[in-house]
């Protein structure tokens, strides 16, 4: 039993990583539906500040969130590298707008350390932990915490 538990902890997950400003973040790739560059977002007046607007993803209405604003970092600056990461959260597609996409990394779950309470101004509650590679630190996002209603 204990052994199994440990094995579970040692599971290797794939992290899709991306940049918000200079911060490198990652999401478990299993949460991601697709990554695209549909950037024709319809603005929704009166929406919460972090919501950029809505998007037509093959007939589904997708809420697009400026991940920078949502995490309390600087807003995503428009550029040709901008991408929408579409995640599935509670039967609803939600798009995260990020500055640019980086690699997919393999991470052993036990190598993911608890996030320091304050990672570079980002609110710690949005992160599952921090994954250390040789030359970088990846903040692993907790999608459900990030998309929790406020």
């Amino acid at each position: 039993m204990k052994e199994r538990n440990q094995r579970k902890q040692n599971k290797i997950i794939e992290l899709a990583t991306f940049y918000i400003g200079d911060a490198l973040c990652g999401i478990d790739i299993l949460n991601i539906q697709e990554i695209n560059r549909h950037l024709e977002v319809t603005w929704v007046p009166q929406a919460p500040e972090y919501v950029l607007g809505v998007l037509n993803l093959r007939g589904r209405i997708v809420t697009v969130v400026d991940l920078g604003k949502k995490l309390g970092l600087s807003p995503i600056s428009p550029g040709k590298d901008n991408r929408n990461i579409i995640v599935d959260s509670r039967d609803e597609h939600i798009g995260f707008l990020v500055d640019r996409i980086s690699d997919v990394m393999l991470a052993e779950t036990d190598k993911i350390e608890p996030a320091p309470s304050n990672i570079g101004g980002v609110q710690g509650k949005y992160f599952k932990g921090v994954f250390k590679t040789e030359n970088s630190l990846v903040g692993v996002l907790d999608i459900n915490a990030t998309l929790k209603d406020e």
């Binding site: 929704v44 007046p45 919460p48 998007l55 037509n56 209405i61 209603d149």
Partner: protein, 1084 residues
């Protein structure tokens, strides 16, 4: 006793539901018929109960079986006319069926439900009608045994006796579930249904015990015993059962053995067994099943054939299946209550298939056309796809359509129960059951409709004695009808009850502080009745338990609003109420108006849209006005509150630049043109408003001033576009930048992060693939805090009038506007105008150098302005308007050009700039410089001799001095003018203070005081009070001149001592009054 697999149970539930559907109405019809029983109908209900019972026995649903059985007993007696279906009996049956339905819908837990009450009642009914000696049989249970002596099942003796009495034969049939049923590819339900065609099942039981003990007699399989009553003769009965003759036994008395009370198989026992099915008791279920299965397997082993083994395994696996599925069953059951499945006619499905095929074909064509680059083919296939898609859409929509009967059918029962409870007699008439509506709408209107129907019975219909007292028939009538109209479904609920008393509603609303009295006074009868939709409102004097508790109507309205429906209520006290509901056919695809604001596109559902309004740039300042902070537009005499969508949503507005057609950011903050305030109407308003003005006014000013040369708004492109929308009965205008096409849009929900924005009803995808938001008209109004009362537009109209009146308290004057030349606007005080005539120019005669026209047997002298004043001559028209005045005892006509219009305005008259003979001054009215014509001067200049005569003839008053206080030069001149014509000396003062000084100076000569009320320094009331308080002047009469003589003013005036009121510029009356007062003085 779990035998069924999931599928069987579900089929049973579905079938039972079908059986239950019409029962209510059938029972009600039976009740109506009373003794005169319609056997078909009773049979119908009987069969329903019977089928339910039959299946329940099979499924181990003992409580359902028991209840259905008891119901069946009662119905059997009704059928054989042993009891008469009185309302009480029907009530009991209805309630029992309710519980039965509840159990069917929640079949998993049905065995835990308490039905003892119903059983007691039902048994009571059966016993009551029986002769004493038979009573016993009801409760008596007998064992029914096989000829071999093995007791296989228990049944009520009453049932057996009853069946025999009806001349039926009783059979005990042994089925083998494996051989006779499963092998023959039948389901147990099939068998039951088949049997029910030719008789009744009194009792049925699956005998698991037999498997264990009687392997010798019953070599394989599970016996299923059915106690069956039928009129079919014993000789031919085996063929019916489709089993070997030796398994069919005719039950004789010697096969039945009375059972001691403690040996009766209690339903409870079964309940315990089946209770293990519940997910909560899953561990025990796990335990129970293996036991049974192991036993089965063990028993089967001696048979030692692989085939048998397989079967048992199969059996086992079914049982296990049941167990597995039981875990997630509660959720299935919950869904089934709100109808997770839908019946669609096969014809429709076929149509869908055909269309889908068509679509595939068209796609192939399209692909081919694209690959060969054939434009023509591309076009054709495009058209084809267009057609097929629309048809497909329509067909799919139709699968969602359900008849409104689904909702309507429950009302006879609702009305009956309620009427009975309240001691009323009500007839319910239902029309238009076949009207179809989208499934979601059907589900959503059920509650609001129930509420309205209950209201009609509870609050609408009076008790029979009251009805008789009012000369109505004792039986009230509630009518429910549905019909199609203009792509919408209309539902009408009408009653002939006491109606809704608007006054009572108003009184109640005022009492609750929901409405001000002032507001109430302005409301129409319909608006008063619509008050019932205000939140927190109850009309019933006595709050009854049955309907509403008074919190209903607003909920009804909100619910219907959500569906895009409209409620309209009409009522006459004593005659009844009609409530009309308009509903869209579907909610999924809706026609909408697309509009633009800023760079954004939005859709307004067509149901909310009343009309589109485009106010040309030139009319903006005339038609859009400001009341307080709100913009309003004049629309056919009503004021419509305006909502600037851009402001509500905080979007930067745009407009098309008239010069280069480019989209430019809008810089106006206010739609109502502030420049129009040079219109004197708004002058005072602006003055009084200055302190409350927002700081951006100054900025606004900067924009306006330098651009006074080129008026942007004169371009048609900067016209204002308004979508007039209604949220329920409440209308307002939504100001948008651009109006686009009307399109059919598909409604898609917005994500949860946007739920907080109440201005949107959803989103849709436009032709170009972009998303457009659908506006929620009611939500927007809420955001902008527009009130949702129907009377809102009228109220704001009243507010506007009041605001004007406030301004007018100073100097409001009624003027008659007319033109001299085409561009010259002139005005005369309306008070001195006798009438207006239209004449033909060719009818004018020139006699003795003067123009006259024959009129009513005399000659009417005619003048024109250019005879005296330096104005343009009259244009050369065929027809002219003649304003007729009465001067010095004669009538004279002033020829003018149309249009002639009467207005009430506040004017500041400039008595200097444009002063000339015949013109007393000028004012700006409606943006035109208007000459105020002095008709006396004109006539006097032309015919001085008339006035000499009058002076001589009517100058007994010569030398009498009148003090006249008035702050407006215009009025001062006017009134002074005609007083002097009468031969009075007039001392005029500019305000009360001035007047007081004059009075002191000329205290000897002044015989009468005329005063305006609103004046600077000292107003009319103060002046009067001062005069009356001074012993030297107390005898002087004071006549107040006013434009408004409200009750309040009169009271106030009376306090300060004003003797009389006169309306300004009502020349004749004023002179008469003056004469009257002065003659009194002379007598003194």
């Amino acid at each position: 006793m779990i035998f069924e697999d999931d599928e069987t149970l579900r089929m049973y539930v579905e079938e039972s539901k079908d059986h239950l559907v019409d029962i209510e109405n059938d029972l009600l019809t039976i009740e109506e018929a009373g003794e005169d029983i319609d056997e078909d109908l009773v049979n119908n209900v009987f069969r329903a109960a019977h089928s339910i019972k039959g299946g329940a026995g099979f499924m181990g649903l003992s409580k359902i079986k028991e209840l259905a059985h008891k119901i069946e007993n009662v119905l059997g007696m009704v059928r054989s006319r042993e009891i008469v279906p009185t309302p009480d009996i029907i009530s009991t049956l209805l309630k029992a069926f309710d519980t039965l339905r509840e159990m069917i819908f929640n079949v998993e837990n049905s065995n835990d439900m308490d039905i003892s009450e119903h059983v007691v009642e039902l048994v009571g009914l059966t016993t009551a009608s029986l002769p004493d000696d038979q009573k016993e049989s009801i409760t008596m249970i007998v064992d029914v045994a096989l000829p071999s002596g093995r007791k296989v099942l228990q049944s009520s003796k009453f049932d057996i006796d009853h069946a025999r009495k009806e001349g039926r034969f009783i059979y005990l049939v042994e089925y083998d579930l494996i051989h006779d049923i499963q092998r023959k590819r039948k389901t147990p339900l099939d068998v039951i249904a088949y049997l029910l065609n030719s008789g009744t099942i009194l009792q049925s039981k699956i005998d698991i015990d037999a498997v264990g003990t009687l392997d010798a007699d019953v070599p394989s399989g599970i016996p299923f015993y059915v106690l069956f009553a039928s009129i079919i003769e014993p000789e031919i009965i085996p063929s019916l059962f489709d089993v070997d003759e030796k398994f069919v036994h005719q039950v004789t008395d010697d096969m039945c053995f009375p059972v001691a009370a403690d040996q009766i198989e209690k339903p409870k026992q079964v309940a315990r067994e089946t209770a293990s099915e519940k997910p909560a008791a899953k561990p025990s279920a796990e335990k129970a099943f293996p036991d049974e299965l192991i036993r089965e397997q063990k028993d089967a082993e001696p048979l030692d054939t692989d085939e048998k083994q397989d079967q048992i395994h199969q059996q086992a696996s079914t049982a296990v299946d049941v167990q597995d599925s039981s875990a997630d069953k509660p959720s299935i059951m919950k869904n089934s209550v709100s109808q997770a499945s839908l019946r669609v006619s096969v014809g429709l499905l076929d149509l869908l298939m055909t269309l889908a095929g068509e679509l595939v074909l068209s796609r192939n064509q399209l692909l081919q056309a694209v690959s060969t680059n054939n434009m023509r083919a591309l076009e054709t296939s495009g058209q084809r796809i267009d057609m097929v898609t629309s048809e497909l859409q329509e067909a799919i929509m139709r699968t969602r359509m359900q008849s409104i009967a689904n909702v309507f059918n429950k009302f006879p029962r609702v009305v009956r129960d309620l009427a009975k409870e309240l001691g009323k007699e009500v007839d319910l008439i239902i029309e238009g059951k076949t009207v179809e509506l989208d499934k979601t709408i059907i589900e959503a209107i059920s509650d609001p409709l129930t509420h309205l129907v209950r209201n009609a019975v509870d609050h609408g219909i009076e008790t029979p004695d009251i009805r008789n007292g009012h000369g109505k028939s004792a039986i009230g009538r509630v009518k429910l009808s549905a019909y199609h109209e203009a792509g919408q479904v209309n539902i009408e609920i009408s009653d002939d009850g006491k109606g809704i008393d608007g006054e009572k509603l108003v009184a109640s609303a005022i009492k609750r502080g929901l409405l001000s009295e002032q507001h109430a006074a302005l409301m129409s009868e319909k608006e008063k009745i619509a008050l019932i939709f205000l939140p927190g409102f109850s009309t019933a004097q006595k709050v009854t338990d049955v309907s509403g508790r008074g919190v209903g109507m607003d909920v009804v309205k909100t619910n219907l609003d959500k569906l895009g429906g409209i409620v309209d209520i009409e009522s006459k006290v004593g005659e009844g109420t009609v409530i009309r509901i308009k509903l869209p056919l579907t909610l999924a695809i809706i026609p909408s108006q697309i509009i633009d604001v800023g760079h954004e596109r939005y859709a307004i559902p067509q149901v909310n849209l009343n009309e589109l309004l485009r106010i040309p740039a030139a009319q903006v300042k005339n038609r859009i006005e400001k009341v307080g902070d709100a913009n309003v537009v004049r629309l056919r005499g009503n004021l419509l509150p305006l909502l600037n969508l851009a402001q509500v949503l905080q979007i930067k507005q745009t407009f098309h630049d008239p010069l280069d057609g480019r989209l430019q950011p809008e810089r106006r903050d206010n739609i109502a043109d502030r420049r129009s305030r040079k219109n004197p109407l708004f002058l005072s308003h602006e003055e009084t408003d200055e302190s409350g003005n927002p700081p951006n006014e100054a900025v606004d000013e900067d924009f306006i001033k330098p651009r006074s040369g080129q008026e942007r708004r004169t371009s048609t492109k900067s016209a204002i576009n308004i979508a007039v929308v209604s949220a329920g009965a409440f209308k307002y205008g939504l100001v948008v930048d651009q109006l686009r096409d009307s399109e059919e849009i598909v409604v898609k929900p917005l994500g949860r992060h946007l739920k907080g924005c109440c201005g949107y009803a959803g989103a849709t995808i436009m032709g170009d693939g972009k998303v457009a938001l659908i506006l929620d008209v009611a939500g927007l109004a809420q955001m902008a805090q527009l009130t949702s009362l129907e009377g809102a537009d009228r109220v704001s109209e009243a507010a506007l009038d009041a605001a004007r009146q406030k301004k007018a308290e100073k100097d409001k004057v009624s003027l008659l506007l007319f033109r001299n030349g085409e561009k010259e606007q002139c005005a005369v005080p309306l008070g001195i105008v006798e009438r207006i005539e239209r004449i033909k120019v060719m009818d004018i005669e020139v006699v003795g150098g003067k123009k006259v026209i024959q009129y009513r047997g005399g000659s009417l002298p005619l003048f024109s302005l250019d005879q005296v004043a330096k104005v343009k001559p009259l244009p050369d028209f065929d027809q002219l308007e003649v304003i007729v005045f009465r001067l010095a005892g004669r009538e004279v006509g002033l020829m003018v050009t149309p249009p002639v219009d009467a207005i009430d305005v506040v004017v500041t008259i400039d008595a200097i700039t444009l002063r000339q003979p015949g013109i007393m001054g000028s004012a700006i009215i409606g943006d035109y410089t208007t000459l105020i014509v002095d008709i006396y001067e004109i006539v006097r200049t032309i015919n001085p001799e008339w006035f000499d005569e009058t002076d001589i003839s009517s100058s007994p008053q010569g030398g009498i001095t009148i003090l006249f206080a008035e702050d407006s030069a215009f009025f001062r001149n006017q009134v002074k003018g005609f007083l002097q014509e009468e031969g009075y000396n007039v001392l005029d003062a500019e305000d009360g203070m001035d007047a007081w000084e004059m009075l002191n100076q000329h205290s000897e000569t002044i015989k009468l005081v005329l005063t305006d009320l609103e004046m600077p320094n000292m107003n009319g009331f103060e002046l009067t009070a001062k005069i009356k308080a001074d012993p030297r002047y107390a005898h002087l009469k004071v006549v107040a001149l006013t434009s408004l003589a409200g009750d309040e003013d009169i009271e106030k005036g009376a306090k300060s001592g004003i003797d009389e009121y006169q309306i300004k510029l009502d020349r004749d009356k004023l002179l008469e009054t003056v004469r009257g007062h002065l003659s009194n003085i002379k007598i003194d």
